[in-house]
Amino acid sequence: MRKEFPEYDDLYCKYCFVYGHDWAPTSGLEEGISQITSKGRGSTQSLVWNFPLDITFKSTNPFGWPQIVVSVYGPDTFGNDVVRGYGAVHIPFTPGKHTRTIPMFVPESTSRLQKFTSWLMGRRPEYTDPKVVAQGEGREVTRVRSQGFVTLQFSIITKDMKKLGYDTTSGEQAPATRLAGTEQPYRS
């Protein structure tokens, strides 16, 4: 996992999975939190977590294909822990290695005054539930501002997809989807 947030430092990220009723995790953590990372000294200035996570899902129905929701937090100028971005992406369908770059965003304050006070108090607007970013319902009432990117790398293994009639690749398939977000080596 790698992240590009131009002006922030010392960020950590939380992840969780959103999936439909027909999905169930069989192994791995559904939710987690990463270590804090600091900016690289190299020229890229990107923040690298290299945080591996491993989860396996099983399902009977492609509906509600799992999505990973990533929210990034970090201290602001006063040292308050504030949210730096929310983002979500579907787990890739096809087996193999995938790289996904998620644009991150944060909800905007409703007014300038609130923006100021939230900055002052270190209590920025947050989603009641980070999982809302993985769904469409209710999103129309929010206004967001984009803020950086998070790069995720997936290594996907599927099993028995073809048995259920879902052909995601031309090759062989597997009843569980296995996701492994593997680390990406730090590149300067």
Partner: protein
């Protein structure tokens, strides 16, 4: 646009050429067409103009037209050449051919003129005209065109006369009008003589032209022959040769351009062109003058320059001050140099030549196009600038405006035309045509491919190719190839032998005719026979002609074979070597000369005879025709004569010639056209006929006796070996041997394979003999063979041959190979003997007989479907093939799906189908035939609708019904609909078979039986109805709720800090908060920290725990020794006032005396049950125990769904019960007492409290002291008060009676309570009948209240059961309680009041926050409430309030919060300066200052008139004032600024009560008892349950008394009574009192007491049920349950 000089050159050239040609043919022409002159006279100039083009781009047009002519001529010549062999002349010079063409045309024309002789002659007659009169007369003509022409003519004649005048007045060179200035042009100057003549005869010509024009116009109407005078005048006119010549030229040009020679059209065109020409000429003139001007100053400059040359070097250096020129001077100087065009318009006179009036074409009726818009100022600047230039005037037109095209965009492209036939076209300019490409992705796979059986194979057999021409052919080869070709032709003709066939046929026909004639031999040939003979004759003629042509062809073929052979031979001799093996033998077949001659003669004679007969017939017919016509003509003549006579008579009478003419015209008009005088047909020339036949025979047939020549071509001639050849030939042969060829096979435009490369042989045959097997997957669309020729390593494409895709019946082995011709137009030239390709080659030594040959040849190949090993053709089935193609296309065609396809060209298609005679039975044509049948069966009806997604059906993988039937999809759909059964259905099975029908059983039953509610469960039919009704209401509300649930507001999604309001009482000042941050920490004064709230989403089972903190209990009843004697008598009627003050003091005192010191009076413990979890505290001692214990109960949400809405719908309750732990010594043997303890623990239920989870969830914590629900009688227990110990505290406590428990309940972690849906519902907006203004006021009022006191509920509008918003005061209206309740205590209002309260509390309680999933309060009116017999606090409160009002009390509705209900409604009454707070659902009442009053906050008060909101500092009833008149404390809704609009009540005027059926109550009573008995036995499965009948009957008698006393303690006497009866038993038991709604709650209540748990071996039970009916089916149920243990 070409330059004028260009144009001039061209014109000059042309002219010269024409003159030359005319010089030759002039005499001839004049002789031939003397009469033509009048017509063409006026064209003299215009024709030239025509050449220069119509538009303003004469150069281009001219060039184009010339080129076009040239091309045409060339083509013609080529044709002639090819037709007639060697052409007469070689086309060297274009001009010459033009002349030839001209000659030809003139000849033609002369013939034409001859034919039109009569007309032309007549035209001459009118030559001396009277223009004015003519004009007048012609005005009467109505034709539009005529009128137009008239106008033009008038205008022109005016101009002409003007010019004439000018000419006569001044020098001709100056005075030429714009249109006559062409005399200045150069080519006119060359023919100076003509010009002079022209000028001299100018005036005359003008006249003449007019006359001529008139003549042409009137030629149709004029009749008669020209008079002598006219003829004379015509011929004596001085016609200078020049105009005539040009006229010729026009004529010629016109002919070449269009065969259609319509006079009128031509004339008009010419007139227009004439004017344009005039302009063009004018420009030319100007051009010239400018040239002259330019010359003059040049010379001057040169002269000046001459002086500068001789200067010494010194002179070049000079030191000087820098020049400074003063501003004014500079301006002056600059003025000399600079020119600033003014923006003022230029006067018209400046723009036109002097003394010329501007001419406006538009006014003359000519079309002038609209010019592109230009800003006037810009135009003026431009005009000024142009005028400043030399010769600027030429830019202006006749109308004084700048010449401009109407539309500057040319219609034709201005690119130079690409008609360079001779030169190679620049490759960059070559147009490249590409085939439309099909999408690559449209793969039409053959169905079944991929399966085992479905491999298809195409065999492409490329056997070889033969060149019919190759660039490396020597001349001999060419001739040889031609010879071979001719021979082939000959052979094929020979094979067909058409001549013979036709000859036979002819003979046969002749015989038949002869026979027929003989048969009838002249006697009465029937009409039918005659006709048949005629038909036969016709047939004979036709056959003869056919035979003749065939014979001729045969002969010419033979001739040409011989000719070519001769040429070949001569060529071989010439070159001295032989390259081709061809050798022609000609065999002579001798024929018997006499016989042959005889036959031929007979043949000729027969033919002659036939021809004679035919011609005679023809003559007869013609003669008849002539006679008829002659008759007609004669009769016409007669008429004419009579008319003439009449005219003569008239002429004598009148003197005016004009008139006479007019008359003449008139009469002519009457008579009409003169019929042509018929000519008598010639007699057929019999001798001539025979001559003709003989000539023909000589031409096309063998001479009689001549031997039949049979050519025979062999390839036996030896080829000269290389050494003996000349050098050119050797190099050619070498070149040939270098060449190699191969063929590429392309399948569907993809190269699939190629043949081996084979070298080219001397005979230009290449043998490949390779077969390619193509295994195919795609449908064959095209199979192509590309022939490549290679020299050494490089190769180039010669030609491409498309091979048709074979039918599926075409199989390998059975198909002969086809020969496919190919050719290439590549140009190849060699410097050796090879003739090359696309290069003209001459075959004779003198260089004539030029031919251009292109590379061509034949490729023999064969494409067929392969045959598999077991003789199965590997071809796709043809039907499938066709269908596949068609269906594929149909699917492609989106329009076809709409049904509009094929509409566009249906007719043409039909026509084509009819012409090509499609086989209707051919399956390949099926779709076309069907289409046609539709088309012919009537118009194809285009649907008059438009479908947007016409392809939708294509994507449906299932029919809708099937989809409906699928269990899996149904499950998915129901889940998505959020049906309660499936709302959180997890992991829907992946396959259909894994889903059992059982899944839907429940849902289906609900759907089906939603209407029918099980009466067994409800016992009472009425209750069933109510339940049904409630269900419906619930559904409708839930639907509403679902809508609002999916309606989000920002706060649902985003957590955001509120802006701290400055100065607001709730939040405090921002600054103050900041100040607080700086406050020093005070560790000894800890502040409560807010727990972090957890959103309910990421929770799972086990995460949530319910914390129940049992702190302490008060006033728990204590055990009574059995032996104690009955104490004081029964309590009499007490007033409620008493109970508050010192109700039980006496009792306390009494019982205290009985208190055995040191003995534990009670050992209570608390048991908490929630969701099947049971937990209990440790056992404490004494009536006021202190546990201070925390019980942790796990919580799991239904279906594991921890969403807010789901949690709100949790209906579980927390039961908290107090039990007494009783230890019984069960040691039987007294001896063991010292050594062992053997006790049995019994637990006795003392009371319980239940708190719904929803309340805990909504309030997040419950903290307080609650009154336990205790039975009114507890057998074996009594209320004991400990005195003294607690002192002052007791005083307060004693105010109320009952047992109390202090509790703290919360949920860990703290859940964010679901927003009360009220807020959301606000957005959804219910229907309402209230006026907008009121609603607005409500909104403001509530908002204001909510802002100031967020914790105080404020309700102004409520939702009634129909879902409509109703203002709350409408619910308050005095309503009378049932009369029998009032009658019960007629003289005691207090008793009556209590009864009424009891009645209200007996109506079952149904919290709608639970039933409606915490959505909203639905308020039903009192009658609805009584009908439904279910409702929550609000309904109870409203009913109670209304009863109180009708009973004359001052009553209000309190909207507030209470424990444990949460937001609720109480009733406030004012009694004698005191305020009483009534809990309507329990029937309890509290004084304002009662500490144990569950009401915690008071939000607002409501009565029928107004709503008051509490704005006091405190909201607890104890600390506030209920005086609503004080505006300081209460804020009224209706005030002076917004008065009460007088809202009518929604309540009925009166309530109708039904008397309850006593019998029904008794029946119910029995039933409940029976069920309970069964249940208790069921609950004790391991022990026998014995029923003490005596006790039961006693209890049964006692229950009505309890009812009568209103549940008050009548226990003492009752207990005593029991004691006396059952002295031997230890009794523990109690009566339960419940309002009746259903049986289930009763059972649960009994179960929760745990009476059945007594496990003593000798226990007996007693159960009594009593149901007391109240009006309107309100039932009070008493259940007395007791356990009896024998003590002895």
């Amino acid at each position: 646009m070409s330059t004028p000089s260009d144009l001039r050159d061209k014109l000059r050239k042309k002219r010269r050429a024409l003159q030359e040609s005319l010089g030759k043919v002039k005499d001839d022409t004049q002789a031939l067409v003397p009469s033509d002159s009048d017509v063409t006279k006026e064209n003299e100039r215009t024709a030239v103009e025509k050449l220069t083009g119509r538009g303003d781009d004469p150069g281009e047009t001219l060039r184009r037209s010339l080129k076009a002519q040239r091309m045409k001529k060339k083509k013609k010549l080529l044709e002639e050449m090819s037709m007639e062999g060697p052409p007469e002349e070689e086309m060297v010079n274009e001009e010459i051919t033009a002349v030839q063409e001209l000659q030809h045309d003139q000849e033609e024309h002369s013939v034409e003129t001859l034919a039109e002789e009569g007309r032309s002659v007549r035209l001459q007659r009118d030559l001396p005209p009277l223009p004015v009169a003519r004009a007048d007369s012609s005005l009467s003509e109505s034709s539009m065109r005529q009128r137009m022409r008239e106008k033009l003519r008038v205008a022109r004649s005016k101009a002409a006369s003007l010019l004439q005048q000018e000419a006569s007045l001044e020098q001709p060179s100056h005075l030429r009008g714009p249109r006559d200035r062409e005399t200045l042009t150069r080519f006119d100057r060359e023919t100076d003589l003509d010009v002079h003549e022209e000028e001299s005869s100018f005036a005359a010509r003008v006249k003449f032209r007019d006359a001529a024009r008139k003549a042409t116009r009137d030629k149709r109407t004029e009749t008669g022959l020209p008079t002598e005078e006219e003829a004379y005048k015509f011929f004596t006119f001085n016609f200078d040769p020049e105009p005539q010549e040009s006229r010729r030229k026009d004529r010629a040009k016109k002919k070449t351009r269009s065969t259609d020679d319509e006079e009128n059209e031509g004339e008009e065109d010419e007139e227009e062109e004439e004017e344009e020409t005039g302009r063009a000429r004018a420009r030319e003139g100007e051009d010239e003058s400018r040239e002259r001007d330019e010359d003059a100053p040049l010379v001057r400059d040169e002269e000046e320059d001459l002086f500068i040359i001789d200067q010494s070097a010194k002179d070049f250096l000079e030191l000087k001050k820098a020049d400074y020129i003063g501003y004014n001077r500079r301006v002056l100087r600059e003025r000399e140099i600079f020119f600033t065009p003014s923006t003022r318009p230029v006067p018209a006179s400046c723009k036109l030549p002097e003394n010329v009036q501007p001419r406006y074409l538009e006014d003359e009726g000519l079309y002038v196009g609209e010019r592109p818009p230009v800003a006037l100022s810009n135009q003026n600047i431009l005009e000024n600038r142009i005028l400043k230039e030399d010769g600027g005037k030429k830019w202006f037109g006749d109308d004084g405006r700048i010449l401009a095209l109407p539309d500057p965009i040319k219609e034709s492209s201005s690119r130079p035309p690409l008609y360079h036939l001779e030169e190679e076209l620049d490759p960059a300019l070559q147009t490249v045509y590409r085939k439309p490409l099909k999408s690559k992705y449209v793969n039409r796979y053959i169905a079944g491919v991929g399966d085992t059986q479905g491999d298809y194979q195409l065999d492409v057999d490329v056997s070889g190719l033969i060149f019919s021409h190759h660039p490396l052919f020597s001349k001999e080869h060419v001739l040889g190839a031609r010879l071979a070709q001719l021979y082939d032709q000959y052979l094929s003709r020979q094979h067909k032998n058409l001549t013979c066939l036709l000859t036979d046929k002819l003979n046969g026909l002749r015989n038949t005719i002869r026979n027929m004639l003989e048969l009838h031999s002249g006697e009465g040939i029937s009409h039918v026979t005659q006709q048949r003979i005629a038909e036969y004759k016709q047939e004979v003629r036709h056959t003869r002609q056919l035979r003749d042509t065939e014979q001729e062809k045969d002969r010419t073929l033979l001739k040409s074979i011989i000719k070519v052979w001769k040429e070949l031979k001569s060529l071989r001799e010439d070159k001295g070597c032989t390259n081709t093996p061809y050798k022609l033998y000609i065999r002579r077949e001798e024929i018997q000369r006499a016989l042959d001659e005889q036959e031929q003669e007979a043949e000729i004679l027969a033919e002659v005879a036939e021809l004679q007969a035919e011609s005679e017939e023809d003559y007869e017919r013609k003669l008849n025709e002539y006679k008829r016509k002659h008759e007609e003509w004669k009769s016409w003549k007669k008429k004419q004569k009579t008319l003439k006579k009449k005219q003569k008579q008239r002429r004598q009478q009148s003197q005016d010639v004009d008139e006479e003419e007019e008359e003449d015209e008139h009469s002519e008009e009457e008579l009409g056209e003169e019929p042509v005088k018929p000519e008598a047909p010639e007699k057929p020339d019999i001798a001539g006929l025979e001559q003709q036949v003989r000539e023909k025979a000589a031409k096309i047939r063998r001479k009689p006796g001549e031997p039949v020549l049979v050519p025979e071509l062999t390839a036996s001639n030896p080829i000269t070996p290389n050494e003996a050849c000349p050098r050119g030939e050797i190099s050619r042969r070498e070149d040939v041997s270098k060449r190699s060829l191969f063929v590429k096979v392309l399948y569907n435009d993809k190269e699939v394979s190629r043949t081996d490369s084979r070298s080219l042989n001397m005979d230009f045959r290449v043998h490949f003999g390779q077969i390619f097997n193509l295994k195919i997957v795609n449908w064959p669309e095209s199979i192509k063979l590309q022939i490549y020729e290679g020299v050494s390593s490089s190769s180039s494409l010669i030609a491409e041959v498309c091979v048709p895709v074979p039918e599926s019946s075409v199989l390998t082995g059975s198909t002969p190979s086809e020969e496919l011709e190919f050719s290439s137009n590549q140009r190849v030239t060699f410097n050796h003997e090879g003739v090359g390709s696309d290069v003209p080659v001459s075959f004779t030594n003198d260089g004539s007989n030029i031919q251009t040959l292109l590379t061509s040849g034949k490729l023999s190949c064969c494409v067929s479907w392969a045959v598999g090993e077991d003789d199965i053709p590997l071809a796709p089935p043809s039907t499938q093939h066709g269908a596949g193609m068609h269906s594929g296309l149909r699917q492609m065609d989106a329009i076809a799906c709409i049904g509009a396809s094929g509409l566009n060209d249906m007719k043409r298609l039909g026509k084509w189908a009819a012409e090509s005679r499609l086989d209707p039975n051919d399956p390949n044509n099926a779709s076309i035939m069907q289409l046609l049948s539709v088309a012919s069966g009537g118009e194809v009806v285009a649907p008059d609708y438009f479908r947007l997604e016409q392809l939708q059906e294509e994507f449906n993988f299932l029919s809708d019904e099937e989809l409906e039937r699928s269990r899996r999809f149904r499950l998915i759909r129901l889940r998505s609909q959020e049906e309660p059964e499936f709302r959180n259905f997890k992991t829907i099975p992946a396959t259909e078979r894994e889903i059992s029908e059982k899944v839907f059983e429940e849902y289906d039953r609900r759907l089906k039986e939603g209407e029918v509610i099980d009466t067994k469960e409800h016992i009472d039919a009425h209750r069933a109805l109510v339940a049904k009704y409630l269900q419906k209401v619930r559904e409708s509300v839930i639907n509403r709720f679902l809508i609002s649930k999916h309606h989000y507001i920002l706060s649902d999604l985003v957590v955001e800090e509120e802006v701290p309001s400055i100065g607001g009482p709730g939040q405090g000042v921002l600054g103050l908060n900041l100040f607080k941050l700086a406050e020093p920490k005070r560790p000894l004064k800890p502040r409560r920290k807010e727990r972090k709230k957890v959103t309910a989403q990421n929770l799972s089972d086990g995460d949530i725990k319910l914390l129940v903190n049992i702190i302490r209990g008060y006033d728990i009843p204590i055990r009574k020794p059995h032996t104690s004697k009955p104490a004081a008598g029964s309590k009499g009627a007490r007033s409620y006032t008493e109970t508050f003050t010192a109700a039980s003091t006496s009792q306390t005192a009494l019982q205290a005396s009985e208190w055995p010191l040191g003995q534990p009076v009670i050992r209570p413990f608390v048991e908490v049950s929630f969701q099947r979890t049971l937990l209990q505290t440790s056992t404490a001692e004494g009536p006021n125990p202190c546990w201070n214990e925390e019980l942790v109960l796990p919580f799991s949400a239904p279906n594991g769904d921890y969403s807010t809405s789901s949690l709100q719908a949790v209906r579980d309750e927390v039961f908290i019960s107090i039990f007494d732990e009783v230890l019984h010594d069960v040691v039987e043997d007294e001896r063991e007492r010292g050594s062992s303890v053997h006790t049995r623990i019994e637990r006795h239920w003392l009371g319980s409290i239940k708190i719904p989870f929803s309340t805990i969830y909504m309030q997040s914590r419950i903290d307080g002291t609650f009154k336990l629900g205790t039975p009114s009688v507890l057998l074996g227990y009594s209320k004991e008060r400990s005195l003294g110990s607690e002192g002052g505290y007791d005083a307060i406590r004693s105010l109320s009676e009952g047992t109390f428990l202090t509790l703290f309940i919360t949920i860990e972690p703290q859940l964010v309570p679901g927003d009360s849906i009220r807020e959301k519902m606000k957005d959804v907006k219910f229907d309402t009948q209230e006026v907008e203004r009121l609603l607005l006021a409500c909104e403001i009022f509530e908002k204001d209240a909510g802002q100031r006191y967020p914790d105080r509920p404020c309700v102004t509008t409520v939702v009634d059961i129909n879902g409509k918003t109703v203002f709350i005061t409408r619910f308050i209206r005095p309503l009378p309680p049932p009369q029998e309740l009032l009658d019960a205590f007629p003289n005691n209002s207090q008793e009556a009041t209590e009864l009424v309260v009891r009645y209200v509390s007996l109506i079952p309680f149904l919290p709608d926050s639970v039933s409606f999933a915490g959505i909203c309060d639905l308020w039903s009116t009192c009658d609805q409430f009584l009908t439904l017999l279910a409702g929550d606090e609000e309904e109870h409160a409203v009913l109670l309030c209304n009863y109180f009002l009708s009973m004359g009390k001052k009553a209000w509705l309190i909207i507030g919060t209470a424990i444990p209900e949460g937001p609720t409604a109480y009733v406030l009454t004012q009694e004698q300066n005191r305020y009483l707070i009534w809990n309507p659902s329990t029937g309890q009442y509290y004084g304002q200052h009662d500490t144990f009053c569950p009401l915690q906050t008071v939000g607002c008060l409501v009565n029928a008139d107004n709503v008051w909101f509490n704005i006091q500092l405190y909201a607890t009833p104890i600390r506030m004032s209920f005086d609503v008149t004080k505006p300081k404390f209460w804020k009224p809704f209706f005030s002076r600024s917004f008065p009460d609009p007088g809202l009518s009540s929604v309540q009925p005027e009166d309530l109708v009560y039904r008397r309850t059926d006593k019998a029904y109550a008794a029946e119910l009573q029995d039933r409940i008892e029976k069920i309970l008995r069964e249940k208790i036995m069921e609950w004790r499965p391991r022990h026998p349950t014995r029923w003490n009948r005596y006790c039961t009957s006693t209890l049964r008698q006692f229950l009505p008394k309890l009812e009568m006393s209103g549940g008050r303690e009548v226990a003492e006497e009752h207990r005593l009574e029991l004691q006396s009866l059952l002295g031997d038993y230890r009794i523990s038991g109690f009566p339960l009192h419940l309002p009746f709604s259903e049986i289930r709650p009763i059972i649960e209540a009994v179960y929760s007491t745990g009476v059945h748990n007594v496990e003593a071996p000798n226990v007996e039970f007693a159960l009594a049920v009593y149901v007391h009916p109240y009006p309107s089916n309100v039932l009070s149920v008493w259940v007395y349950i007791a356990s009896l243990v024998r003590t002895r």
